[in-house]
Amino acid sequence: MFTIIIRSIIIYIVVLFLFRFMGKRQIGQMQPFELVLTLIIADLATIPMSDVTIPVLHGVVPLLTLVVAHFILTFITRKSILFGKFVNGKPVIVINPNGIDFEALQSLNLTIDDLFEAIRGCNYFNLEQISYAIMETTGKISVVPKMEFAPVTCGDLDIKLEKTTIPITIICDGKYLDENAKLANVSKSFIDDILKKEKISKIKEVLILTIDGDGKAYFQAKGKNSKVFNVKLLKGTGV
């Protein structure tokens, strides 16, 4: 039993390293060869986990080989457009201003129902609203709406907005994130002042504290309700 536990941990670490190495895209939208790789990895990993007669190397070596093969394949795909098209295929326009391109649908082995389902997933329920629909190589459909049906933007209404900022997490689950504080250009004493105002004595008691470039802070202590308040930031603070 102990052997199975150790083997499982080893294989788990190897698979973790594998997915970490291959990048976030592996978990998100996958190209065909990435999907194949994911399926194979799942199978390979389980073989030596439970069968103690199979050497662990018989599971680890194929996984590592796939990492190398994946790296080489993605490298060539990046360098050669032709090879990339051969491996991944290319995006196909299935709806254009003239309507549905039935030949394109047939080449993709899609039915009209499949197309409607994908379009509804993009929150468009009427073909009249769509200018272009593109089937991506990942199997997802991207929709370009007609101008009169496109969502309104601040630019359309001529509304002037301040620079977009993102909130930066300064404290997370009781831990002070020094690197993020440097990014946000806030000092430890600045944070201590905030905590003093909120009557918090230790950083450990804080669940989350984020600050954005406009000086808006989101704060929640452990076991208490969240608060939003403004803080006075120095010039050049925030992202």
Partner: protein, 129 residues
């Protein structure tokens, strides 16, 4: 740059593993295979089998096998290794009890296993497909 380095390390590791396997497994199995074949030829051809000599040779093979067993565990299915160890143990007891019919059968299995391992480990078209 970091990824390229990791991939290079992996390639070196995998190549090293292949070379290690080729050298170590071939060295160990070749000797046992040749000795087993010799012993097989001796027991078939000899009119009167010298029990002491056969027992000594079987023990030699067994000792040699025990030396390589720990290394081969990383590369060969443990069940196959178990089968081989079992047959070698049987061989010793068959010789001790002058049961040469069963001894010959076990020896044939040992020859078969070592030959099988060499084919499994070695690079061949049949092995790939």
């Amino acid at each position: 740059m970091k990824k390229i380095l990791v991939v290079l390390i992996l390639i070196i590791f995998l190549s090293g593993l292949v070379i290690y396997e080729e050298i170590n497994v071939n060295n160990s199995l070749n000797w046992i295979y040749e000795e087993s074949l010799d012993l097989q030829a001796y027991t078939i051809d000899a009119e009167h089998i010298n029990t002491t000599e056969v027992l000594s040779r079987v023990e030699n093979i067994h000792e040699e096998w025990k030396k390589y067993e720990n290394k081969l565990c990383f590369l060969i299915n443990h069940k196959n290794i178990q089968d081989m160890s079992t047959q070698l143990t049987y061989m010793k007891s068959y010789v001790s009890s002058d049961d040469y019919e069963d001894f010959t059968a076990s020896l044939a299995l040992v020859v078969h296993y070592t030959d099988l391992f060499r084919h499994l480990i070695g690079v061949s078209v049949q092995g790939i497909f």
